[in-house]
Symmetry: C2
Subunit: 201 residues, 2 copies
């Protein structure tokens, strides 16, 4: 059986958990205790030298890292990844956009404000990060003005990847009031079959 | 014919140029003048709302963004992308590692030190960024202690993606003295057929 090493609150981990649930792929969850620094233990570092989650352990004993690469692996041949190679490349385009232009700015603010609960201490850098985060949200909004989903007019791993941090953007102090297209798309994702919440296991 | 919109000095753009050269794919280069902010002109923004390069214009008139997604698109069915899906997923794993954990720290230091030539002005943040950059280089070094390339013991787009910024890491003040595995791998990449330099068009 596949094994997913994760933190429940990590939206990167949620991507893999949501996809496997929607694909009805059985898996074992191994929750690492972040407060005990379990992701820094030698036993875990041998799986992933960076001490990052999620890590997917395959039935062969092999390990796959990086949330979006894990989704790519799991979704092949399913409705979550288009067969057409250009469409697959556009899925990749949005997933790289997510990791470089969006996620660092949403995840960091959420970490400081909600996970550490230190909004005051980090207020200056939060404002700085939010500028870039809002710029990335504006790119998404522009796309969603004329599209229901990100690639090929269907729900794919591009949507899961972007949804993960955007649907909890408010926990990093973001307001989506100016992004009506994103708000509608969030509802569209939440209405997909077998949707689960980020804290649902 | 394919059209590549790029800056010559951008190592993200170099990835696409190097790959197309090695694959003998003919393409037209459109160099944008960074100093004239040509990447912010409305004509270019309609291709890429973020005003980022590289952008690959396909023969259909369609646009593909994100250097690693462009490489994924171009390399399908070639020796630069393994056929096996798990190996393809590992290529993706390293490319996401590159965009999230490596490139932001190497590219920013190179930009301040060599492209803007303002090492003094940015000295404090350069030291800060280099800590994360060196951590990512250590992850690569560990892998290269027992592997010749990043995936499947062959030169793939994972190597091109990682090579692009690492081979000019010195321009961001990085020393590779402590990374003998990386040094050997850099030479291995430079010895590949039809290799071109970052400033070679």
């Amino acid at each position: 059986m596949l094994r997913l090493y994760e933190f429940l609150l990590s939206a990167n981990c949620y991507k893999a958990r949501l996809l496997m649930t929607q694909l009805a792929i059985p898996f074992e969850r191994i929750e690492l205790d972040f407060t005990k620094q379990e992701h820094r233990h030698p036993e875990f570092l041998h799986k992933n030298l960076q001490g990052k989650v999620p890590v997917l352990e395959l039935e062969t004993g092999d390990f796959l890292l990086e949330s979006n690469a894990i989704m790519f692996y799991l979704s092949k041949g399913t409705q979550f990844l288009p067969d057409d190679h250009l469409e697959q490349s556009k899925v990749m385009q949005w997933l790289f956009f997510e990791q470089y232009s969006l996620m660092p700015y949403l995840a960091s603010c959420r970490f400081w404000m909600t996970i550490l609960n230190k909004a005051d201490e980090f207020s200056e850098i939060i404002i700085e990060k939010q500028k870039s985060g809002y710029a990335a949200l504006a790119v998404m909004e522009q796309h969603l003005q004329s599209h229901s989903f990100f690639v090929g007019n269907q729900y794919t791993i591009a949507d899961i990847g972007l949804f993960a941090y955007v649907h909890v953007a408010d926990e990093g102090g973001y307001s989506l009031t100016e992004f009506p297209g994103i708000q509608l798309w969030l509802e569209r994702v939440k209405n997909q079959p077998h949707y689960i919440d980020i804290t649902q296991v």
